[in-house]
Amino acid sequence: MNRYLNLLDFTLYSLLRRKWKILFLMLLFSYLVFLFSSVLLLTGAIKNEAKKGVRALPDITIQRLTAGRQVPIPAAYGEKLREVFGIEEIEPRIWGYYFVASTQANYTILGYDNERDAWKDLGRIVLQGTNGVSLGEGEAILGEGILKDRYLRLGQTLSLDTPSQTTKSFQVVGAFKGVTNLLTYDVILLNQRDAREILGVEEGFVTDFSVYISNKNEITTVAKKIMQILPGTRVVIKNQLARTYDMVYSWRSGFTLITLLGCLFAFAMMVWERASGLSAEEKREIGILKATGWDTSDILIMKSWEGLGISFTSFVAGLIGSYVFTFVLGAPLLKSLILGWSVLYPPFTFTPSVSLDQILVLLSLTVVPYLIATVIPSWRAATVDPDTVIRGV
């Protein structure tokens, strides 16, 4: 034990001799870890948020395609769907995007059906204007992003254009709670009749059907049956959407990581430079240690601690930095890069989570190569005859 403490003492003292060089190295190392872990943590957090969003989606969504473009689907299809065994609930939905040229933002308009059971929980996520909740004609509940984008408050009026170029006004009777921002930030909730008018969905048609399946293991089977009885429809399974989100964010994160490859390359060069040989001074020191009774294992222990001390401390500093950057500061700049094109970014904070996989990936990219680059050349130098030192080589 004393031996290890003595070697540790010498290692720390030895490092202090080169404190500025070591500090610079550690800053560089930490910065590299910070960059990569920020991308990984942010991507992981966004994927988690997306998964939460996907969980709220129906098991199956049925849309109608004409010439590859989504068009309203006849409401009568709902009756055919009832014939499919295994379906627990069918929900016809009226919804669509509303583009605002002045702010280049896309709003999501949802038609609210006062009669449907599924909507009864809405009162819990709406701040004000809740009376049950029911939405009358000319009334709207807005997401926080819309309120900000249009400088609106409760009781004020929101004007939207119809496809026939007329303008319709809506009184803002409610706002979604901030905690639901990820899902509701750009949402305008209207009475179903109003939603039809703004989106141009005629009576007898709906935008799509949400279908809920009682046995979740049967989702794929039910989806196949639906495709058979409703040809010309697109049947989207929740898992497919989850995979799509996963792919999109992985692609974006991969793209961001590629842009950081330059940093990794510079780091690899530094590691390679170290691995390919020690400086004459470092070799001389190792020779002196050997000549004065140090064993090869003593030198390797010292060099391992030195490498581990530098790389692991920098790694932890970089990781903590990226954690704060991602989960406390909300990853400014980087978030825009990975989240995508929407102008109305929901100001949600990510749920902090760091997975073991992410840490292992980062460790294997940074600490492990650095450690190898420290220990291998030292081992090579330590196996040289101390005779060479005496000769002043």
Binding site: M1, N2, R3, L5, N6, L7, D9, F10, Y13, S14, R17, R284, E285, G287, I288, L289, K290, A291, T292, G293, W294, D295, T296, D298, T383, D385, P386, D387, V389, I390, R391, G392
Partner: protein, 224 residues
């Protein structure tokens, strides 16, 4: 104590630049004796010291210390032998320049199972002996040549060796400091340590405490 039997050391054997540094050398240095190996530069003095000190293996021949053969030991045991029995003063001092005096002196003690307190005590005693107590925390690079030589002596004695090897110990010292060094080595001899010095300095080989003077030329040894 030290018995060298027909030892040769050939560098770059079989190559065009082959060097016969030491050739068929035999030597016996009893315990407590001070022997000086003198000779011109390149005569093989340093190589002979490195072989005796287990810093390198001979190409042929045998070296025994206290009756035990040491010249064919595996690397780990060669290190252990150096650690336990040998203290070496190098011609170029071989100190770590930006380490403090005390850390340099303590280097041979770190791999041992000694507590930090014991190491401090040992370093204190050694620095007191070489009169460098007040330079304890100084980086070696700020010391004079004579002071650096004394740090090297303290380090060589840190492991309390039975054998002290000194390679041109007065090369960087003036006459007064050389005399002082010889007095110090004389004291070590009086403690029963076996001392082998490689030097061509008359102050060294002419010193009254020297028991034997040997001459090396072209790798071969002859007694004066």
């Amino acid at each position: 104590m030290i018995r060298v039997m027909s030892v040769s050391k050939v560098y770059n054997k079989g190559e065009p630049n082959q060097v016969r540094a030491v050739w068929e050398v035999s030597l016996h240095v009893p315990q407590g004796e001070m022997a000086v190996v003198r000779g011109p530069s390149g005569s093989g003095k340093t190589t002979l010291l490195t072989l005796i000190g287990c810093f390198a293996r001979p190409s042929s021949g045998e070296i025994q210390v206290a009756g035990k053969p040491i010249s064919r030991l595996p690397e780990k045991f060669m290190t252990l032998h150096r650690r336990k029995h040998v203290g070496m003063m190098f011609q170029q001092f071989n100190l770590i320049q930006d380490l403090s005096v005390e850390k340099n002196v303590a280097i041979p003690l770190y791999p041992l199972q000694l507590s930090g307190r014991l190491i401090d005590e040992r370093v204190d005693a050694l620095l007191h002996m070489v009169r460098l107590d007040k330079r304890r925390a100084f980086p070696v690079k700020r010391l004079s040549g004579g002071e650096q030589q004394r740090v090297a002596i303290a380090r060589a004695l840190a492991n309390d060796p039975e054998i002290v090897l000194a390679d041109e110990p007065t090369a960087h010292l003036d006459t007064a400091l050389s005399q002082e060094l010889m007095t110090m080595l004389q004291a070590l001899k009086a403690e029963g340590r076996t001392i082998v010095i490689a030097s061509h300095d008359p102050v060294v080989y002419g010193h009254p405490s020297v028991d034997r003077v040997l001459t090396m030329k072209d790798g071969c040894l002859s007694e004066v």
